[in-house]
């Protein structure tokens, strides 16, 4: 069974962390993943940097620009990850924009993901219909889960459609925003978390965008299965040593 599905079966709320591969230093990728697992993180999204990340705010954009300046490439990421499954067991996903994957070759990309032990992909600008018509079978062949994003504006019918096409979890964008642009959750978000929970989807939901501390983390996991921290962690890692990751994670729970 896919590691994501196994993890989702555990009777606990999940913490997922996003970071940009090759940032702050080109060869930090593996060390960050290992330290995150050691710190008790349940799942990791490895950001494949892109020159023009439309859905991301300034923090992740800047980290991507820096990673590319450092020399990060798709090929290099797979080289860095080639032995990752010797030391890391938690689910690993790659989050990236479609163009670099398209240039690498979608099937070739999926093949390399399977080879190094990636469990799922989050590609914000891969349209639902394109996935369904052109890539679903390729993803399935390599046992890769495709993660769809929903927002407060996503129509119910469309959420149902994504639910039917998914077999792991649904990425709930907490509010209508790019990454890193919210600091707290208001009534709108709480109502949205409630509304989605009541839909009783077959896939659990994990909330991302706008989670930056213990308070927002707790709010996000109240009705949903877990939460993803991205920009805030990227900001942290740009200013701290990898050895301090444990403290960062502990602070979310204490």
């Amino acid at each position: 069974m896919n590691r994501i599905n196994l993890k989702l079966q555990e009777n606990k709320k999940l913490l997922s962390i996003y970071f940009t591969a090759g940032f702050p230093n080109l060869n930090d990728t593996v060390a960050i993943i290992q330290e995150l697992e050691k710190s008790g993180v349940d799942m990791i999204e490895i950001g494949l940097p892109f020159s023009d990340p439309l859905a991301d705010g300034p923090t992740i954009q800047e980290s991507s620009t820096k990673a590319l300046e450092n020399g990060m490439t798709t090929k290099l990421l797979f080289e860095q990850l080639k032995d990752i499954r010797k030391s890391v067991t938690i689910p690993l996903l790659i989050m990236g924009y479609f163009n670099p994957i398209l240039q690498f070759g979608v099937e070739h990309f999926c093949e390399k993901c399977a080879e190094v032990g990636i469990d799922g992909l989050i590609i914000p600008d891969l349209p639902l219909t394109t996935f369904e018509e052109e890539y679903k079978t390729v993803f399935e062949h390599y046992n890769l889960k495709n993660i769809f994003l929903i927002t407060p504006q996503t129509a119910e019918e469309r959420i149902r459609k994504m639910d039917s096409l998914s077999d792991s979890f649904i990425y709930m964008v907490s509010s209508s925003s790019t990454t890193g642009s919210q600091n707290s959750f208001g009534d709108n978000q709480k109502n949205y978390f409630d509304r989605i929970a009541k839909m009783e989807l077959k896939n659990p939901q994990i909330v991302g965008f706008g989670i930056s501390d213990k308070a927002t983390f707790q709010q996000a996991i109240e009705r949903q299965k877990g939460a993803i921290i991205g920009s805030d962690f990227v900001k942290f890692i740009s200013q701290n040593n990898i050895a301090n990751i444990q403290n960062y994670i502990n602070n979310l729970f204490i």
């Binding site: 020159s51 023009d52 620009t65 504006q153």
Partner: protein, 393 residues
């Protein structure tokens, strides 16, 4: 061959809507409504009235006698440079602001490179009394100070795009982000035939007035509706899309799309996307774009800020792919000389973008009886400093 967009938003292999879910509701709302609006009689009457009384259409189709003698062929210039605000851009912003009004939006955002689309957007927002925010690369803000001032005078807020290369593509990214963060009250007026479906089709339709007028005007002057050639410059490609539109299915009309070669195709400083680009995704559209082997979008270069875009609209990628249009790349130097040549022979100072289209006269021999229509997409006032620096006037 069909050159219109299909029901999925594609021109052949190109187009579509490769957008994050956060943009989907807005783009989908537009997709479901734009044709109904455009085909509505009230909309058309308001649109045509504004084009006539406010923009100053129809723009002349001018027989350039001295230019024709010089190149020994029959050259007509479609005078989009005489539009209000100085370029064809306003045809599209008038159309889109009417769409925005019908969608009930109250806040307008736009991206701009040289500032022409920003000025055209600020103008229609002032006309309609709507809030206007224009994203412009920090570097472009420095290079195009007069247009920044014009936008401010027209009541727009100009926000610098400070990410990435701080130019047009980054201004576009910032505008898209603004739309993601303001999903209900905001409408995004894209300035070219780029972006996710339905933008390329919608913008082409608003600009198609150019070829519509060419047909009628040419008939009066020459007794025929179709020229032998239509020549237009392509950055994103909106003026070319408009000038080609009603001739796309008339294979007797040869279409020439002119890209900016910058300092030369192989110089590393170029914007000739059809030569240097590969298929990929930029700003929500699958099209030809300049990118690294790894799929990172690269920075184009042209002396002309309006052609300085790393992609071309999906319609143009399709016209290139099917060879319906011939693509020619013109260097900075060729364009500047041709711009000056038009000043001297016809008393018209063209935008440097349009000067690229004029430069085809130097590289291509036309027959004496050929009717060649060149779309003079904009006037050169905005480029005076560049002309001055280049020629040391």
């Amino acid at each position: 061959m069909n050159y219109q967009v299909n029901e999925n938003g594609f021109y052949g292999d190109f187009g579509g809507a490769f957008i994050p879910e956060m943009l989907y509701p807005n783009v989908e709302e537009l997709r479901q409504n734009y044709l109904n609006y455009i085909n509505d009689a009230d909309f058309q009457s308001e649109f045509q009235q504004l084009l006539k009384d406010y923009v100053g259409r129809p723009t002349p189709l001018y027989f350039a006698k001295r230019l024709s003698e010089k190149y020994n062929t029959k050259i007509y210039l479609k005078r989009e440079d005489l539009c209000h605000t100085g370029a064809h851009k306003i045809n599209n912003t008038i159309g889109q602001i009417l769409v925005a009004k019908r969608l009930g939006k109250t806040r307008i955002i736009a991206e701009t490179g040289a500032g022409q689309h920003g000025v055209a957007t600020a103008t229609v927002c002032a006309l309609m009394g709507m809030e206007c925010i224009v994203y412009m690369g920090e570097i472009d803000i420095q290079r195009q100070a007069p247009n920044v001032a014009r936008m401010k005078m027209l009541g727009a807020e100009v926000r610098p795009a400070t990410s990435g290369s701080k130019t047009l593509k980054d201004a576009t990214n910032e505008a898209i982000r603004d739309w993601i963060n303001n999903p209900t009250n905001t409408y995004y007026i894209i300035g070219s035939v780029v972006g996710p479906h339905p933008y390329p089709d919608m913008v082409a339709r608003f600009q198609s007035i150019i070829s519509d007028e060419i047909k009628q005007q040419l008939f009066k002057k020459e007794g025929r509706k179709s020229p032998d050639y239509v020549i237009a410059c392509v950055g994103g490609g909106s003026n070319a899309a408009g000038a080609f539109y009603h001739f796309l299915n008339d294979e007797n009309v040869k279409l020439i799309a002119v890209e900016a070669a910058g300092k030369g195709i192989d110089s590393g400083e170029s914007a000739a996307t059809s030569v240097l680009g590969k298929i990929g995704i930029i700003h929500g559209s699958k099209t030809l774009l300049m990118q690294s082997e790894d799929g990172q979008i690269t920075e184009p270069y042209s002396i002309s800020a309006g052609l300085d875009y790393p992609g071309i609209g999906p319609l143009h990628a399709h016209l290139f792919d099917t060879q319906r249009a011939e693509f020619i790349a013109i260097t900075d130097n060729e364009a500047m000389q041709s711009g000056l040549n038009l000043c001297n022979t016809e008393g018209i100072i063209p935008a440097i973008e349009s000067a690229h289209a004029l430069a085809v006269l130097e590289t291509r021999k036309f027959k004496e009886n050929d009717i060649v229509v060149i779309n003079l997409s904009g006037r050169g006032d905005k480029d005076l400093n560049t002309y001055i620096d280049y020629f040391n006037f």
